[in-house]
Symmetry: C2
Subunit: 331 residues, 2 copies
């Protein structure tokens, strides 16, 4: 295993230590709960927004904490849902009088942890609501999921509700916005290689040199089918077709379009893929009004990418365009 790792058991804790050291003024790290939160939270000026999920998907979600995005994140170990007490403690510590919004990608383990924590916190009088994200069109049920999986499209839900919360919207309004954005969002991904979890030390699944996993999940779950490695044009066009078909894109639509790298694919290839996806999805007259290219929700060092399209209206566009500031910093 060629990785920057010490003891694999310390992988997540050491990553979070680095994140905290790189952002000493803006983030607070609470090691007991893998908790990263805004240093200016909680605030009764705005609803608290929390997302957990397993680690290994960075920047989601610990590196998307900041003004206009998440209030806090409390990840589990690599590809493991956070324990219930992480979520419960995070809710308790960060609760605002305006309430708490939980965002949960649709995996059985995550749902269980967040639903139990919500119940415990609600019993203590904290106003908690939950948004489930299920943007992945690849498969209906999956290894760790009943219903569709939540993947990179989750970014748009976080961004929209984060912007609204920053502007003072109440909890009902955030739930309305989050459900609206999730309903307008579709994603599908493709793996060129498997990823290697630090504690396993070997690739999570076998993928032949001439094959790709079409519709892969972000934990290496099987997709729709294993197909031949093909040209970028063919692979990306196939992803766009799956997404656009499910979203029922028409020539009248305005869209946000994202190419999300899965961790091991360089940004040069992501931009090349973006060009293909943009041409394909606008061929029938739809307009792309906002573009996103980079890593948003990864699968450790997996080579591959996903395509996300969001049908936007003026409200969603304004929320996506609002300023936000997170740990991943170019400057």
């Amino acid at each position: 295993m060629k990785k920057f790792v010490n003891d694999p058991k310390d992988f997540v804790a050491e990553m979070l230590q680095g994140l905290a050291l790189a952002n000493p003024d803006t983030l607070v790290y609470v090691p007991e709960y893998n908790l990263i939160h805004r240093s200016d939270a909680p605030s009764d000026e705005r609803v608290t927004i929390i997302q957990g999920s397993g680690s290994g998907h960075e920047p989601a979600h610990v590196m998307t904490v900041g003004p206009g995005m998440l209030t806090a994140a409390c990840p589990g170990d690599v590809f493991a849902a956070p324990p219930v007490d992480y979520v419960y403690e995070t809710i308790k510590r960060l609760a605002s009088s305006k309430g708490v919004l939980l965002i949960v990608n649709n995996y059985t383990g995550d749902r269980m942890a967040f639903e139990m924590a919500q119940e415990m916190a609600s019993a203590e009088g904290i106003d908690v609501r939950t948004l489930f994200v299920d943007d992945d069109v690849a498969v209906q049920d999956s290894l760790y999921t009943v219903g569709r999986r939540g993947v990179a499209g989750n970014f748009f839900v976080m961004k929209a509700v984060g912007a609204a919360a920053e502007a003072g919207a109440d909890l009902d309004e955030l739930v309305r916005i989050g459900e609206k954005v999730n309903a307008a969002t579709r994603t599908m991904g493709l793996a060129l290689t498997a990823c290697t979890p630090p504690s396993k030390g070997t690739p999570l699944f076998d993928l032949e040199p001439d094959k790709v996993e079409f519709g892969v999940g972000i934990h290496g779950e099987p997709g729709r089918m294993r197909v031949e490695l093909a040209s970028a044009d063919q692979m990306v066009n196939d992803l766009v077709e799956a997404v656009a078909t499910d979203l029922q894109v028409t020539g009248a639509d305005r869209l946000a379009l994202m190419i999300n790298g899965l961790g091991g694919t360089p940004i040069s290839e992501l931009y090349l893929a973006y060009g293909i996806a943009h041409r394909a999805i606008t061929a029938g007259g739809a307009q792309v009004t906002r573009s996103y290219v980079g890593e948003y929700c990864t699968s450790l060092d997996m080579a591959g990418l996903s395509v996300t399209a969001v049908r936007v209206d003026e409200e969603i566009e304004q929320l996506l365009a609002a300023p936000a500031e997170i740990a991943v910093r170019v400057f």
Copy 2:
């Protein structure tokens, strides 16, 4: 070769098409010269800043064009210096009455192209100056270089002169600032794996499963030595020691510290490495006042990272903190 590529000959052009499609309002793409420039350039309000270099190092430099950073970039093919006429045409098209600043990472091919283009443009009365960047402490001379190589520390030169140019500084002042930042910057990298250029289709060099290249160049050039794969602590501490020794870091120093991913290493590992580097470089009392973690100058899909330290003063800190906006967008 598992990559998102069509015909390898079109790799750079298709990447630039994607970049332009993702940034229709802010960037202009001129296919004949691989030229990406700010849509609001040239402007006689500010010096024009141009960087070229080979492709394969993205986001450097085509994705670092924008307000507060580069005015334009004109890359060559993957790992190949831009042809002289690309540089010359870019200077001619983007020249400002305040002059043109070229930034060149120190490689023989790049120096040749930029020096010839500068001569041609100067003969036509354009005021052109050049900054050479040579921050890599790994080796004195290298495969493609006499003297030290220019690598990820180049970001700090771009950022500082970009901020000064945006504020209206003249060409002499930009040269002074750029030389000062370059003199205060040191980098060293390490490869866990080789990279695979699209046109070659196989890894650029052989690296045994239990070995790493300590001091690797961003085109796969040999470093100081090939050593055993070790813990993250040991590998990152060794890089920090090389950088800190060369920069002669003392307990009185204020530093900017960067962990730069080489393309195939996920951001989780980069933050883990940042924590190690931060602890190591501050152990003697030096302070880190600005932190950078991510991909700044890559080597296609190479797994690995580099550590950069910059000795900063108030002037450099202010220039680094100034706002800037480039194509790589999280929001």
